[in-house]
Point group: D2
Chain length 388, copies 4
């Protein structure tokens, strides 16, 4: 294939996708969490693994932390460790779903003591943000109820707004609050922020530095996700992506694995709406590598985003506009499909080499011996996982 | 069963559910529209049938019209006909999905001529509203696209806002615009107003008299509809309901037929949020009686809403609050289920009789001979249906 | 309400619903398993709790075991303990999803060593069946893959058949194999037995004593479950039910909690197809009480099944046949709804009292002090849960 | 790109995809059927259009007819017309959903007169098959009910089997019966053949020449269709495909338009299971071109199938087996994705030219002037559509 156009390459050069520290720990389903040799045992080892992804791809310059999973005594030391490895610390994710007190809610809880505890947890997260230099506080609201009648949906919504206002008020001037929505799970009757509309209504009431986080796996079956991307960009409220893919529910598979064409369409709308390489829109992964190796799973993921971004950048907008204006349904669709079907991989490989990166990052990582090394070295201790 | 409490009866007495004129015409699927003897051949006959529903139930005091299906030369005459039959004319529904010009859009169309035509159609609807005394202009936006790339999602959204602003500006001071959303169909890739969030964002930008219409059949599989009811009431933007029920897509079955417990939960949230007998929240049916008789189909429907409203009014809020505050999941759920499982039908039958209504409206209608009469009388002419 | 007809009561008297031992242990989602005071720490305590359900309802005469979770040194002792408490041991459930060796499959695994280990596990389960006097070996096939290409779908299907044949051959003459299907989870791309068709094809190839298990939560969104009940009864292959309810995926909520009308329809088809009180069709629960108390959760569940069975038994089949034959859609539906809407609870309460049972089993259990007693007594040790 | 391997080309050369005559008539949703200039007015014109697809692609050698839509006085003349145009007549599709008598069922109807009428219709279809030389009688069972209780699910199933047996007995020795299943629509509560399991159970009871038809748009949300392909091939009962694509329900969009990767996976399983260029497995389209032009819509469709077949043929089975055997999840997935991501279009274009076909069939058709010619010529008369 011919090389990619210079403007496409320039755009791709600016792309960065944040990795979640928890992707390097063990994860699983409610039925079983399988272990793997070499799994990190602390945040320092997680970040070392994350830095490998950046090393082979130049695509993953930062790492998101999850509190309390990634609490350390000395965040200064963690920050230096991170920067020594050539990456930075990114978004801070709070956790309101694993403390026994949060069994029936946290930021929405009717018991003021528990609600204050959850707010205080976010204050502590903001403290961490100051130590790590993080901009974004991301709140995934896992709260909800399992049975009709169990809770007062409206009162919880009002308490949520009150809690968020208190947290928002504590943010520094350069910091943002990003509110994630999710269709269901872990709650099975109602979830307090189940859709983009609710997240939007909640953050719009907070202020300019409150934004929506769109996790690609958090929608009802059949939802047109790129439409939501378009709408949130239009409303100026798309704060970040959590990328992953799914066949059924929130499967948390590798982004692009289940439906590459959907990923392409999402990235096409990001580009059309000015969301690419726009500091207001953070790109992150949020995945679980339940059965595959974690580091190459993350490498595969950022490459998938890069490859689909490249294809989406190849769309001929002039031809597209012309076909759309002529109501040429097949013609307009063909312009899009032509870009999607173009195999950008050889050109990307060439370009990587020209920048001193391996043409095939998966193969380069596999050949590096890192996986064998950590499997041999990381013996003893407790493997990190969700909750550790 | 013991009689229903006086406050419940007082509330039920205030309940009114608007009927759609088109429910009395023939309808069907893309595969076939089956005919039935006695189907109305003009708006006057549709309203005569609708008045039967009110006669036996006192639940259906008004009839919604659809333009151009219900265009008549003399709306004054239609209004007098309607009032003579003891009912009134209600919401005016516009139609942007059946003109050849609207094949690729109407209020969202890139061609200014077509977009203006669609706006003008709404001006004409507002003229009808002045003639009929209607308050609400309801816009169901059937527009969208079938293939990725076919259209510019964002530009259509902006044009939609512009079109709606022009229509909104033309409304009288007491009139409202109500914007309906729908997950999919007739468009199969994207729909311009696919979810409540989009409808909310669009009407919030218009002004106070622009509201959201929630059709109970227009959601993705698994959507918690009562949550949306709660949220729109909380945001002050729930303008109206289109009631019906579904097992799969927008099946337009009789409300309550597919999942009576869901209808109960919706009505419970309406009550909890102050939406019952609140003039801001219009109750309407929007159904298709493809294979069952239409008049008894509508009688069954308003009775279903009444019966589930009665059950929802029986919820013991004090007990519910106590159980919720105690995190008593099973206890709180039991309070709700106890109301749902209570058979309010005998008490409602008694109460109907006490008001001079038939205890069993379905049986009374069947015994009236009306169905046989229209089957015999309405011979010749063209039966009304979607599009006629 | 008038008492229930004698034939309905006679039928209800014969009803028995098996409880799963694991419902009394802790359970949760992949995000968190919350603990509760009084949770059993061994199979003996689980059975003691299960016996409470039977004591207050006379509806739960047997308890299903899960191997290896319920392995004990002396199954004779467990059996005597069980019988002393007035219940019996029922179905034996195997487990092929929690051993490290089963990460990529068990009965379907390409590695003969692992596949033999999984077959041997079922031999061990059959040994337990002989010790407990159990008739049914239930196999839930949790196996599958997460990514396209990961596995050879066809080869796995063939190996599954081979494995099942070996297991089937080991069964005693009075024993049965029951194969459960599930739409997805824990695998997210393909599941080896995802639907009733696959389970049916697999067991039909085994022989007469191989049957299908229908778990009400294991279907795609929108699936008409009562149709499958009808079809499996028609084909003579409905071996057992796992009852629970769901709003989204395999939520494992209390049966009847999410959609009581669906439960009614399922039971109506069971009755119409001759599956009620038919020894060939086992009724079981399979639920997770993540946030509610477990013993009352199980009491609520068996009562829900009983109440909906009573309503389903009230259907006037003569009137239904007449309406169906007349193509009277609304009339036929009304016959069904009339039974569903009839509140059978007062009559059931009376009947319970006439049999020396508490009118309100939930209240009787709550008043018994058992919950407080186990919370006080069961301190120390490890609470049972999935995997323990 | 390098040319495709000779064995791949040889396989592709054998590929043929049957076109449905009805794809060339107008179609739409229940809301509107839009017209287009040049739409055929009789079966002869439909076949002329179908022949255009074959002319530019050499991929569509036969045309399926639908009775009664395609009834002509002289099938011998239609056959000669067809063969003169270089194509043949294929599958005969029956219609049990548009006669007024079939409002409540046809092959399942409780009224013997109507059921016999439906059976007789299939006898007439078999007569047509003898005249056209068709092998397959395809039955899409649109029958079902809209409300619980409306019908006796089990009795309908038994009557269906009886009806099918009578039809099957009438087939010639070289003829087959192919039974299609569909999740829902036009019925909204139950469908008599809703899933592959039901179709399989019905045809297995008929005999060897009764097979299942898999329409790719007829499944519940999230269904793994390639699994069903694998299973039906394994059971020897995959008789034919109806190809199309969908985002929501039975959208009947161009095959491959909604999820090209799914089409690739389906074709991969066809190949792995020996179903490609296997006379037992017929490839057909079943689509509705509601808004796009019909002839290029069909050209696009057969090209999509060809392109994805080419990609699926490129899978390196040796590498795949090796990765699968090593439990190398990412490696095995990468083998599949590598084939999917390979852009086979340039090589296919070259190969087309080498065979005397246009490199770009879409462009060649557009340049031919045929569309303008039929738009000018076919004025007057009634445009064909569903039902005409």
């Amino acid at each position: 294939m011919a090389p990619l156009p210079p403007d496409v390459l320039a755009t791709l050069e600016g792309q960065g996708i944040e990795l979640p520290s928890w992707a390097f720990g063990n994860s699983g389903t409610r039925f079983r969490v399988f272990g793997t040799p070499g799994t990190p045992r602390d945040p320092f080892e997680k970040i070392a693994d994350a830095a490998q992804v950046h090393r082979y791809t130049a695509l993953a310059p930062s790492v998101a932390l999850h509190i309390p999973w990634d609490l350390v005594d000395d965040f200064g030391a963690l920050r230096r460790h991170t920067e020594d490895l050539g990456v930075t610390l990114g978004t801070i994710n709070s956790n309101t779903f694993q403390d026994e007190d949060y069994k029936f809610g946290a930021l929405t809880h009717h018991d003021d003591r528990i609600r204050q505890k959850a707010i205080d947890h976010h204050y502590a997260c903001i403290d961490v943000m100051h130590a790590t230099g993080s901009r974004d506080l991301k709140i995934w609201l896992a709260e909800g109820s399992n049975y009709p009648g169990q809770n007062d949906l409206r009162a919880r919504q009002d308490r949520l707004q009150d809690s968020l206002q208190q947290i928002y008020a504590r943010l520094g001037d350069e910091q943002r609050l990003v509110l994630e929505y999710k269709f269901f799970e872990p709650a099975f009757y109602h979830t307090d922020v189940p859709d983009w509309g609710t997240s939007y209504a909640q953050v719009a009431a907070l202020g300019e530095r409150a934004m929506v986080c769109l996790d690609t796996g958090h929608h009802a079956p059949g939802t047109n996700i790129e439409f939501i991307v378009m709408q949130l960009l239009r409303l100026g409220k798309l704060g970040s992506f959590d990328f992953n893919s799914r066949f059924y529910a929130d499967d948390d598979l590798i982004v692009g694995a289940a439906d590459p064409f959907q990923l392409f369409r999402i990235l096409f709308e990001v580009i059309r709406g000015g969301g690419l390489n726009n500091p207001d829109v953070a790109f992150m992964l949020d995945q679980c590598h339940n059965i595959e190796n974690k580091i190459p799973g993350q490498i595969r993921s950022v490459l998938n985003v890069q490859e689909m971004t490249a294809r989406a950048l190849l769309v001929d907008h002039e031809a597209l506009d012309a076909a759309q204006s002529a109501n040429d349904v097949l013609g307009a669709n063909a312009v899009l499909m032509d870009a999607f079907y173009t195999d950008a991989r050889p050109a990307l490989a060439q370009w990587r080499e020209s920048r001193g990166l391996p043409a095939d990052p998966m193969a380069a990582y596999a050949a590096s011996g890192y996986q064998q090394r950590i499997a041999a070295d990381r013996v003893g201790g407790t493997q990190a996982g969700w909750g550790a």
